[in-house]
Amino acid sequence: MDLEVYQRKQKRRNTAIIIAFFMMLLLSVLISMRSGYSSLSVTDILRVILGGGSENEELVLFSFRLPRIVLSIMVGMGLATAGCLLQAVTGNALADTGILGINAGAGLMVVLYVIAFGTQSASAIFTLPFAALLGASGAFLLIYLLIKKRDLGISPFSMVMTGIAVQAGLSALTTLMVIKLDDTQYAFVSSWQSGSIWGANWTFVLAVLPWLCILLIAAMCKARVLDILGLREETAAGLGLRIKKEQQGILLIAVGLAGACVSVSGSISFVGLMAPHIARRLVGPRHNTLMPVCALVGSVLVSVADTIARVIIQPSSLPT
């Protein structure tokens, strides 16, 4: 097949896939805006957005539902991208921030932070992602040190096994800490822990948004490096890639993304695992196209999951 014809075909196909997922996202957002304790019809929603809604309706839509919807999209994008980066850097198709205990590390720090500072003040919430980042990096460092100490070599198998162990340990510690919480703290943490985006408000969104933007852009800049890393170490080194340095940088971005997302939505596992695989199946392995599609798929996954969780046993809701 002629190269130009092929490339045009690919472009058209990828565009179609992106549009399809955007539609899914839009649909999920609409359904989410509609449903909940008080249901709003589509015309109601339009009316409220255009400024003609009652105070009550505005409250429901703008203060309760929209931030949660926006948050679920952001978290989906962040975790999916983190998973994509992890999988590329570790050469491990099973890598995901949940499985590797990175989410659990962030979780432990969040709980400790909440015990120390509470969840009421805005400044506490804005600095929450930092604490989560610390926990996330700590967990990853722990895995790395454990692997090195026992001389296992950084193989996919050793990473996943050690990660599972670390995740279990950190989760146990977190549960222990949770016992020490008071009622309001406990309410926040327990729903947060199960990955529910309950209690989402615009403060959370604003706390995470700058991080997400910076880190996602940083991830996209690494697209070419990720491609070369996929060729395994020897070939990549032969092509002039400074492997250790690039791996460290990319891991930092992944851990940062995971930390930021986990800090506001709790540990949501498997988005980081599934989204890259789904995206890869659809648009191929080149990260220029893979990463944005992966982020899109991730946002659809979390958004849909969150919508289902809210809708399925109305009026109460399932953890996401």
Partner: protein
Amino acid sequence: MNVIETKNLDLAYEDHQVVVNLNLTIPAGKITSLIGPNGCGKSTILKALGRILKPRGGFVYLNSRDIQQLPTKTVAKALSILPQAPVAPSGLTVWELVSYGRFPRRKTIGKLTAEDREIIDWTLEETNLADLGTAVVDNLSGGQRQRVWIAMAIAQQTELILLDEPTTYLDLAYQLEVLEMLEKLNRERNCTIAMVLHDLNLASRFSDYLIAVLDGRIIAEGSAEAVMVPAVLHDTFGIDGEITQDPRTGKPACISYHLTTSRK
């Protein structure tokens, strides 16, 4: 002109010392083959030359400069290396994989330049892969895939190409195709080629220079006529070989051989 050489080189994996005090030179503008039995260290030496393995001691000099002191990108512009059994992510097309060879020469941000594209297209032509540009690498035969990897190394446009067993697992015809392609590169673009080969007769036929290695030491080096002699084969491989002349190429060939009784 690229010259790569080692001085007092020590190479080791963990506690296992593979090469001790090696002084080796890869002659510029020629095709050199490293031959030797399994575990003799020839792949290890090649990796050290390609800056994939860090020496325990001693130096590797690329154009008289210590290769460990040079930035990775600089090295990648001077030499390309094709390791044993390279792996590519599934779903990649031939054109895309070959385009990765341009990585060391590309700016950090930006698309492939027109020059990059020209070089990739030219490389596919030279390696007889022009028809396979849009084929997925996973679906190709072993020989075709190997040609794609070599094409990627060629697209890097380096004066020195290192190859670790480029013909292992290939059938007779593909082996010749690959080696003839390397010969062409050497002849037309004056590329220095250094490769590890298992097949003695192919090494003899296609190389200007042979280096026989055993236990990390050079047993003999020189032209095929100088190295393909019974004494060297005995010392290096532990075989008792009969050297004849290939009727078509005139190069020394060893077709008939037996184990010596004193082989370790």
